[in-house]
């Protein structure tokens, strides 16, 4: 065969440190075919479903929206817009409980579907004419984020990576966490979409080779993907079944298994010419570029010991989790514990929260009593299983002593929170929970110190500005004083005999008044009788002026 996709050469796999063989619990949900979920009464769409800048609504309460219509966006680069998953009316834009470990509320757009599921006209772009930038823009506009769980905007990731020479594109179909089977079902039911998405990524990134990593506990998915790969005849693309070890689906772990490279602490994969994308993301890219459809639905596994009929559904985003429980036949236990994600890395969610792009699985377990924690016995098993090669025991001591700076020195931030350490701890210590807590404390301290640095700079700037204004004012006054002094020094040369200006003014007024008094008007051309009368009047005035005492 001319293409390199079905190379019979043995592929040399590497091993990452530690890891666990867990009971995979995949059969419960993977044995049923993929189903389409019914529409719920309300779709509750959190405005921010990705890592990066928050979205702003592009619709108002009362608007009618169609499936695929953009309802929220932001001009920022690291973000992804949100689209209506079905036609209906926007009934609220408000704070609602969201799928978040805090169980708190955040801004959501609430849509009441009308059941018609009318869509906007999807126009597949003319891919022949599209440049790399056009493709990235289309991926962004379709609201695509990493569907493996990190929900980092795909266009931003690919754009940053495309600036570097990408040697190997890695497609992550490992799906290593127990219970979750959504990627498995996707690869079995739509392998051609995954392959088409990979082809688009290859066009953008131009990698020398592409490796698809799938854990060997998914033989049907491997067979379906291999067949689709053969049909598509992609060059330099190879499907590699990898051994089932948790957490082989972690980005750094999968890179190690497939290429033997290790991504350095606080570095990113593309810096060494590698890029990882999840199979779900690839299918979403194909939907966007081949059909013009934005990301409005995703496959969700609803499973666990607490539901009657586990399975996988194609679910519109924003569907409340309680609706998913109904789809799976309802609770089968009295005290259910709903978890978004898997048992290792997932977190408890409220059932009234809406599905987000990150929601690959709703796991319902029986809320049983957690075994009591005991003091650390220093067995070192946590160190043996840690896939990041950290020293979990040291991190534990520093974490509980709140010596967070020390914990940071021991590379706390390289912890991928896979939970292996806590799973093997014979003392049942909540290790990974402690690391999450320590990380969030450190992040808060960093935020605080960033804020106080900013306040200090602004304060210092203000002080400097006030000092400068004062100096300028002082300078102005000094100049004015100097000018006045100069003016004064010129009249000082005049003879001192001259009158004071105030005195002189007073004299002038006096003189004018006197002049007015001695100059009676209309005295010309008077008759002798009139003159006499005037003289008499003047005589009386003189007499009066001399005073009554005379």
């Amino acid at each position: 065969m001319p293409d390199g996709s079905r190379s019979t050469l043995p592929f040399h796999l590497h091993r990452f440190h530690g890891g666990l063989h867990l009971e995979d619990h995949k059969q419960e949900s993977a044995t049923r075919p993929l189903q389409t979920a019914s529409l719920p009464g309300q779709l509750i769409l959190r405005l921010k479903q990705h890592i990066g800048e928050p979205n702003e609504p592009r619709v108002a309460v009362g608007d009618r929206v169609l499936r695929g219509q953009k309802i929220a966006d932001t001009p920022e680069r690291v973000a992804a817009p949100l689209h209506a998953p079905s036609s209906g009316t926007v009934v609220a834009i408000e704070d609602r409980p969201v799928a978040h470990p805090s169980g708190k509320s955040d801004r959501c757009i609430v849509i009441e579907p009308d059941g018609l599921d009318e869509a906007i006209a999807f126009e597949p772009p003319d891919l022949e004419r599209c440049s790399r930038e056009d493709l990235l823009r289309l991926i962004r506009e379709a609201g695509i984020v990493g569907l493996g769980g990190a929900v980092f905007p795909t266009a931003a990731k690919a754009e940053t990576a495309a600036a570097h020479p990408i040697q190997t594109l890695i497609i992550n179909g490992a799906e290593c966490e127990p219970w979750i089977t959504c990627d498995d079902l996707l690869m079995r039911s739509r392998p051609e979409a995954v392959i088409a998405g990979i082809r688009h990524l290859q066009r953008i990134l131009e990698p020398a080779q592409t490796l698809i990593g799938i854990e060997d506990n998914k033989p049907e998915a491997i067979a379906a993907m291999q067949q689709a790969l053969d049909e598509a005849a992609l060059t330099d693309t190879r499907l590699v079944p990898i051994p089932t070890v948790y957490p082989s689906g972690g980005e750094k772990q999968l890179i190690k298994i497939l290429t033997g490279h290790e991504v350095k602490s606080r570095h990113l994969a593309f810096e060494i010419g590698l890029l990882c994308q999840n199979v779900g993301t690839c299918a979403a890219i194909s939907d966007a570029l081949d059909r013009g459809q934005p990301l409005t639905h995703r496959i969700v596994t609803v499973t666990g010991t607490g539901v009657r009929e586990p399975g996988n559904w194609v679910v519109p985003l924003g569907t409340p989790f309680e609706h998913l429980v109904e789809l799976a036949g309802g609770f089968s236990v009295e005290r259910p514990e709903p978890i978004m994600g898997g048992p290792m890395m997932g977190f408890e969610v409220r059932l009234d929260a809406g599905l987000v792009k990150a929601g690959n699985c709703l796991l319902i377990l029986n809320r049983d009593h957690r075994p009591e924690e005991h003091e650390c016995v220093r067995c070192g098993r946590c160190t043996d299983v840690c896939p990041a090669q950290l020293l979990p025991q040291q991190l534990y001591w520093y974490g509980r002593a709140r010596q967070f700076d020390k914990a940071e020195e021991y590379h706390l931030f390289d912890c991928i929170e896979c939970g292996c350490c806590a799973a093997v701890c014979p003392s049942h210590l909540p290790l990974v929970q402690l690391y999450r807590y320590a990380k969030s404390e450190i992040r808060e301290q960093q935020r605080k110190s960033w804020k106080s640095d900013r306040a200090r700079k602004r304060h210092e700037f203000r002080e400097a500005r006030i000092a400068r204004q004062k100096a300028e004012e002082e300078e102005r006054r000094r100049k004015k004083r100097e000018a006045l002094a100069k003016k004064k020094s010129t009249p000082a040369a005049r003879p001192e005999t001259e009158l004071d200006p105030v005195q002189a003014a007073l004299e002038r007024v006096k003189a004018r008044k006197a002049a007015q008094q001695v100059a009676p008007k209309n005295t010309d051309n008077l008759t002798p009788a009139q003159r006499r009368q005037i003289e008499e009047a003047e005589a009386r005035r003189r007499k009066l002026k001399q005073g009554p005492d005379s």
Binding site: H100, E375, R402, P430, S440, A455, R458
Partner: protein, 196 residues
């Protein structure tokens, strides 16, 4: 003669070291007191003056000179007192309540824009230029820059400024400490053993 040589040699050595030290003193001269900078870096920079000094830096200078105790900063609270005690090698003391209470939730000033008469008095009072406005025009607080120092409240002639708790976003949310065996979590004496 030997004594003379010894004196000359020792004198030469002493002289050259003296020159070296003198040069180093000028070349590597440190401007200002580095301790003040270190203390200032730990203070919360609200510039509120609740400590009795005209801002965070004057308080830092007073601490460095031994004129002020370390427990007079209400916005910093216990965290800052512990950090200062660590830096200065003294015992942490509880916050002196005379200077105010520590507020657990960060606060931000809010101007009621319907009541504001545009007198600019609050703008002049704000230590971090976080209030925007002009004479006879409405003023508003830049919430991201507000340190919650409350210095703008007393000068306002129409009492239109209130302090409100800063809205917490989910990005600022913190995980709770998990339950651990043994001593309670707040116990600071809990020392980490050195790595074996």
């Amino acid at each position: 003669m030997i004594i003379l040589i010894a004196v000359l040699v020792l004198g030469f050595i002493a002289g050259s070291f003296g020159l070296l030290l003198g040069f180093a003193a000028i070349r590597y001269r440190v401007e200002g007191n580095p301790l003040v900078d270190q203390i200032d870096a730990l203070l919360p920079q609200t510039q509120c003056g609740q400590c009795g000094y005209a801002g965070c830096r004057p308080y830092a200078e007073a601490i460095a000179n031994g004129e002020a105790p370390i427990n007079q900063c209400p916005p910093g609270g216990e965290q800052v007192i512990v950090a200062l005690a660590d830096l200065l090698g003294v015992e942490p003391e509880p916050l002196n309540e005379e200077h105010g209470e520590h507020k657990a939730v960060p606060m931000v000033a809010v101007i009621d824009e319907n009541t504001c008469i545009g007198c600019t008095l609050c703008i002049q009072a704000c230590p971090v230029d976080a209030i925007l406005g002009a004479a006879k025009h409405m003023h508003t607080v830049i919430a991201d820059e507000c340190t919650g120092c409350e210095l703008c409240i007393p000068p306002c002639p129409v009492d239109c400024i209130t302090m409100e708790p800063l809205k917490q976003t989910l990005d600022d949310w913190k995980w709770e400490p998990p339950p651990l065996p043994g001593e309670s979590f707040d116990d600071d004496d809990d020392e980490a053993p050195a790595h074996a």
